[in-house]
């Protein structure tokens, strides 16, 4: 029978996973409720108890009916599983609350539930041809439920602990014999379950031996012998025999520990003995098993791993001060050192042995597990040994601080001699431990940053040498990382740091030159970063303050640019990219950090000169020169302006000599000079408007002359673009300054029509047709703004002005719909409409407030988009329309003072979910789904973890239910569904742990029911879909 938890079944039926999550949540709610009534029976709520019972009964009945109709019904299976899963808990709460014999008595109630559960599942297992659970479940259930029932007898019947230990042992023995002789299906799982019971009996016996009663020790020794015997008896099957073998080794370990306890040994003896025992187990694991001894070597390795991990875990508070400077020493340091040394050696022996004599796994899963376990062993061993070395250093009172020198020594040795041991031990594990030791050493030496840095540079140098001698790529990455760590510790501004950074730059650049592709690129980027650090350090050394940062960045950008010209290949391209990044960083620095005029002007001029040298970016250089001139004009000293203009002239002269575009440059200087003059102190930008209009007029004249005399295409293009840019600048100035001068706007409107008339879409002009169309678009925008200005003068409120703007969008619609599609003209009108409608959305957010005109403005603009969408049949326009509706809803929420971010996130996600369901964006569906998951589910989950507020839990629950529906309905990838289910499940678990609230249990149960009901609904729809002749699509909407 195919089990429901079989991965292939889950892959075929995506509804199973959300169904399991829903069941898990309901079970979680039931467990939380059971724990609550166990602690305080008075906290029982009849409503909740009744709800769970009803869910149980309905699940069973409805599930049975559905399965009778369709034996493979997913919903039927889920409902029956729900009934089965909450049945024990449904039994527990009513027994504890309402039945006189068990009322308020937790052990009696639990025993009753276990007995009923055992009977019920025995019956189920007996009829396993129709079993609801995967068969392995039954073996472990019978084992653990039996043990739990016996352990509870010490409370229900008052049996002494040693009796309980013997009873568990007898139960284990009986189960083991039954498993061996009858081989119940599945045999392997029953055998492992038997070993589990026997291990549990060892634990119970050990607990019983607290009073040092020999009879408990006898149970422990008896259990161990039984396990050794059964491991030998099961040797024909690897899985069974090794499980019993490991249990037997644990039994021997328990027995030895009990003997130490019997002789009242001090604590350090336990530690040293456990370490020694781990070592013995490791040595045993290297022996070849034959015949009866076959199960023991492999299981000895597993046990050694468990003991080493347990030692390291239990003693963490003792060994952490060995390698971390943040904690003081603890007692038991010597014993811990010895124990970890033994454990480390044990794992190293195993790892080395397995490298030479590898195991042969019986299955692919076993092969993977072997590899994972071996790697864990290989990586853990040197780490334990490093800790032990640090401890030994302390114990032997070697030069302090031990956590610096010991780890430094260990790390150096590992890094240098690691490659020589490659035949016997994985080099990567030794390297990993070596690097970690170095980092620890540097971290511990932080009080002396120089010493720390030297440690890191030392490690980096070792790795570089190894890389140069042919080691793997990661040694180069480690070299870079350690160098970066060393540089990060440098006190910038000191002479030593400056020299170190320069040396690091040279070394890293040289080493990177010997690498290829990605490594070389990473190396050159690192070299640039080191160089920049050097440059900053030098600047600080020369007493240039932080305000000079923009200049420092700009000058290093020049260095990077020169390097890009001198180098070849990856070095050249990386230097060029670094140069661009530095230019951007310098510009950002200029914008964000206040600086004096000299810094600003020097930085601008350096950047402008650099950009003029860069192909495709030299226009930005012109712009920066203009900005520098404008900035110089605002300083108030004519000297600065003259200097800047002189520099500009020199740069432009160089530029014109180099590329020959002298006319454009002279025109630029003239325009920039005029703007500079007009922006001098005493004249503000708004006062400069008429002059800007005059420049536009000059441009028109220029255009006219271009048309008449048919001069160069470049000449005509530049003129039209300059005039267009000036128009945009003036409109922007009017809107941003909120002046809305009707005179200026009116003049602009006239100028725009004049420019448009004179721009000719001649065949030899490249930019003119575009400029022609854009001028038209801006004419419309200016008209709309003029209308708003009129309304403003008429006394309309801000919200009403926004509404007026939205109406102008409707006025543009007829023009747009009349213009033939796919022409430059239609494109221009579309741009204008976009700017107006999106302007409405933006303006509404700026204005805000509880004014219906605002919401109406967004909806009106949204309506314009909808009409446009239906006329042009462009699905993408829906998104713009939706943005209007979303804006309106968000503005309303804002006005009502809704502070939950989920309200706004869900509004956006609701639309994206609709997009997913409608499949109107097939190419980016997965991206949308990811955004929806990240925003709608991950945010409340994150907020819940951060604040523990139950409202976030409610949001998480609601969002998850909807998103699961959307993902399943739109057939998204199973990983997405898993992610949502995981967040929902973990969130609910977190909520159940943090909040002691019955309503929360009810909410969890409700969420689970809704998810299951939704799965049923999806299933019904899916079943009704016509399949005959249906074309199936894959995720890329390509027919299969």
């Amino acid at each position: 029978m195919a089990s429901a938890v079989d991965p292939s079944v889950v892959a075929r039926e995506p509804r199973l996973l959300p169904g399991f999550t829903a069941i898990g949540i309901i079970v979680l709610a039931a467990i939380a409720y059971s724990i609550r009534v166990s602690i305080n029976p008075a906290a029982g709520q009849d409503l909740l108890t009744f709800t769970f019972i009803v869910a149980n009964v309905v699940g069973w009945l409805l599930g049975a009916i559905l399965r009778n109709r369709h034996p493979k019904s997913t919903l039927g299976f889920l409902l029956v599983l729900l009934g089965d899963a909450i049945f024990p808990l449904n039994l527990y709460a009513p027994l504890l609350l309402y039945i006189p014999i068990t009322h308020g008595n937790v052990p009696n109630t639990a025993t009753g539930v276990i007995l009923v559960g055992l009977t019920y599942h025995l019956w189920n297992y007996w009829n396993r041809s129709t079993a609801r659970f995967a068969l392995p479940f039954y073996s472990y259930f019978f084992a653990l439920a039996g043990v739990a029932g016996i352990v509870l007898t010490q409370f229900t019947v008052g049996l002494p602990m040693w009796t309980v230990a013997w009873l568990v042992l007898l139960y284990g023995l009986a189960f083991n014999e039954m498993s061996f002789r009858l081989r119940p299906e599945p045999a392997v799982h029953f055998a492992i379950a038997a070993a589990t019971i026997m291990t549990a009996s060892l634990v119970v016996s050990a607990l019983a031996y607290r009073d040092r009663q020999p009879i408990a020790l006898a149970a422990l020794i008896g259990g161990t012998f039984i396990l050794i015997f059964s491991a030998i008896r099961e040797r024909a099957d690897e899985a069974m025999s090794r499980a019993h073998g490991m249990a037997a080794w644990l039994g021997v370990t328990f027995t030895f520990t009990a003997l130490l306890y019997a002789f009242h040994s001090p604590l350090w003896v336990y530690l040293v003995a456990t370490g020694a025992w781990t070592l013995v187990l490791a040595i045993v694991s290297t022996r070849q098993g034959h015949g009866w001894s076959e199960p023991f070597p492999e299981s000895a390795w597993w046990t050694a791993m468990v003991l080493a991990a347990a030692l390291a875990g239990v003693l963490w508070h003792v060994w952490l001060p060995f390698v971390m400077r943040t904690m003081s020493g603890r007692p038991l340091a010597e014993a811990t050192t010895v124990a970890l040394l033994q454990a480390g050696l044990a794992l190293a022996i195993v790892s080395s042995w397995r490298r030479r004599y590898p195991q042969i796994a019986a299955t692919m899963e076993g092969f993977v597990a072997n590899n994972v376990l071996l790697r864990l062993t290989s990586y853990t061993a040197p780490l334990l040994l490093i800790i032990a070395v640090a401890g030994t250093w302390t114990v032997l009172h070697a030069p302090s601080p031990a956590n610096v020198y010991a780890t430094l020594t260990a790390g150096t040795l590992l890094l240098i001699f690691g490659p020589a041991l490659t035949r016997h031990y994985p080099t990567e594990a030794l390297d990993f431990a070596g690097v970690l030791a170095m980092v620890f050493s540097a971290f511990n030496a932080l009080e002396s940053a120089w010493l720390s840095a030297m440690v890191l540079f030392g490690a980096a140098a070792i790795l570089l040498v190894r890389r140069l001698r042919g080691a793997t790529w990661w040694t180069f990455v480690a070299f870079l990382a350690l160098t970066a760590g060393g540089l990060a510790l440098q006190p910038i501004g000191s002479a030593r740091a400056t020299v170190v950074c320069l040396a690091a730059t040279v070394v890293v650049a040289w080493a990177s030159g010997r690498e290829a592709k990605a490594l070389a690129r990473t190396g050159f980027w690192s070299a640039q970063a080191a160089g920049l650090l050097f440059w900053f350090s030098l600047a600080a050394l020369l007493s240039l303050g932080r305000s000079w940062d923009a200049v420092v960045l700009a000058t290093w950008a020049w260095v990077a640019f020169i390097a890009s010209r001198l180098m070849r290949g990856v070095g050249a391209s990386t230097s060029l990219h670094a140069c661009l990044a530095l230019v951007a960083a310098s510009a950002v620095m200029l914008l964000t950090r206040p600086a004096g005029a000299p810094v600003l002007l020097i930085a601008l001029l350096i950047l402008a000169a650099l950009l003029l040298e860069l192909r495709h970016l030299h226009y930005a250089g012109f712009a920066l020169l203009a900005v520098a001139i404008v900035e110089a004009s605002t300083v108030g000293e004519s000297t600065w302006l003259i200097l800047v203009l002189a520099f500009c002239a020199a740069v432009l002269l160089w530029r014109s000599l180099a590329s020959g575009s002298s006319f454009a440059h002279l025109l630029f200087i003239a325009t920039a000079g005029a703007c500079a003059y007009l922006s001098m102190p005493g004249r503000g930008p708004l006062q400069a408007m008429p002059i800007a209009l005059l420049v536009i007029l000059l441009c028109v004249v220029e255009l006219v002359s271009t048309r008449i005399s048919k001069r160069s295409a470049f000449h005509a293009d530049v003129t039209s673009v300059v005039s267009l840019l000036l128009v945009i600048a003036i409109v922007t100035a009017e809107v941003v300054s909120v002046r809305f001068s009707l005179v200026v706007l009116g003049t602009l409107l006239v100028a725009v029509f004049a420019i448009r008339y004179w721009i000719v879409a001649a065949e030899h002009h490249r930019v003119q047709p575009l400029a022609h169309a854009l001028t038209r678009a801006f004419g419309m925008i200016i008209g709309a703004i003029a209308l708003v200005a009129l309304g403003r003068q008429a006394g309309l409120s801000a919200s009403q002005q926004v509404f007026t703007l939205s109406v102008t969008a409707w006025m543009l619609l007829p023009l747009l719909l009349r213009t033939p599609r796919r022409t430059v003209a239609s494109w221009a009108v579309a741009v204008a409409l976009h700017i107006l409608a999106l302007g409405v959305y933006a303006a509404a957010f700026f204005v805000r407030g509880d004014d219906p005109f605002l919401f109406a403005a967004c909806l009106v603009a949204s309506g314009a988009y909808l009409v446009w969408r239906s006329a042009w049949n462009v699905a993408a326009l829906e998104h713009f329309a939706a943005a209007g509706v979303v804006s309106a809803i968000c503005l309303w929420g804002w006005a009502q003072g809704i502070a939950w971010p989920e309200y706004y996130i869900f509004t956006v996600c609701a639309y994206l979910s609709v997009v997913l369901l409608r499949r109107t964006a097939p190419r980016i569906e997965n991206a949308i789904a990811l955004v929806v998951i990240a925003a709608a589910v991950a945010y409340p989950y994150y907020a819940l973890l951060r604040t523990t507020q139950r409202e976030h839990l409610a949001f998480l629950a609601g969002a998850s239910v909807v998103i699961i529906h959307v993902l399943l309905q739109s057939r998204r990838h199973a990983v997405m569904v898993v992610t949502v289910c995981a967040m929902l499940g973990l969130g609910m678990l977190f909520g159940a742990v943090v909040h002691d609230d019955v309503r929360l249990n009810l909410l969890m149960a409700l969420v689970g029911f809704v998810v299951i009901a939704d799965l049923g609904l999806i299933g019904i729809r899916s079943d009704r879909r016509t399949r005959v002749g249906e074309i199936e699509y894959d995720h890329n909407r390509v027919t299969r």
Binding site: Y357, Q359, I360
Partner: protein, 199 residues
């Protein structure tokens, strides 16, 4: 025998190649005609799968026709199968070789490769080191000799695969000896592998 048992068509295609080396296309045609499995000829992709019953009919026809020379042809089939694998050289193989490159001897690698290669095919293959120098490969419910009664070991394809794998991938000369065979009435097949020559 479970209904869903099937094996990779690459085995049959390798068998055709081995037969062609003896008697050309005509021999393949005769055998397919005799087995009543002409559609096997149309197998194009080596990653396709065929039901085991179909394979067994083809095997029985070949056995009837070839007689004593069947063993040699089967051994050759195993070798051709590995040669095709060598050409494709899947990345898993490179990874596997890398994992075992520091081992004292390469027999565990041969055993592990045999176990991993058998995944998804009929029968259950396990391997272990019988002694330090002898690898023991065990095949339960062996598909190669299924339903046969013979007086001597029959699993020659498996032996061909092992020999050629050691030769091509590990540069080793190995000798194989089938000590138990289901065709001889044993409960499982067992092949012992010993390194004879390091090239």
């Amino acid at each position: 025998m479970p209904e869903s048992e099937s094996l990779q068509a690459a085995l049959v295609l390798a068998g055709f190649d081995a037969l062609r080396m003896i008697g050309g296309d005509a021999l393949v045609q005769i055998l397919l005609l005799q087995a009543g499995e002409q559609d096997l000829e149309n197998l194009a992709a080596s990653d396709a799968r065929i039901p085991i019953e179909q394979y067994l009919r083809y095997r029985d026809a070949a056995l009837d026709f070839l007689g004593d020379s069947f063993a040699t042809t089967a051994f050759q089939t195993g070798k051709i199968l590995v040669r095709k694998l060598e050409k494709e050289r899947p990345p898993q193989m490179t990874w596997l070789l890398d994992q075992y490159k520091h081992a004292a001897n390469q027999l565990p690698l041969i055993g592990q490769a045999a176990v991993l290669a058998s995944a998804g095919n009929p029968g259950k293959v396990t391997a272990k080191m019988k002694t330090k120098d002898v690898l023991l490969i065990t095949i339960e419910r062996c598909p190669e000799c299924r339903g046969l009664e013979r007086f001597k070991p029959f699993c020659n394809i498996n032996q061909g695969v092992i020999s050629e794998f050691a030769h091509l991938f590990l540069n080793l000369g190995v000798s194989t000896k089938e000590t138990r065979c289901m065709a001889m009435g044993h409960d499982r097949c067992e092949i012992e592998v010993v390194v004879e020559e390091v090239r």
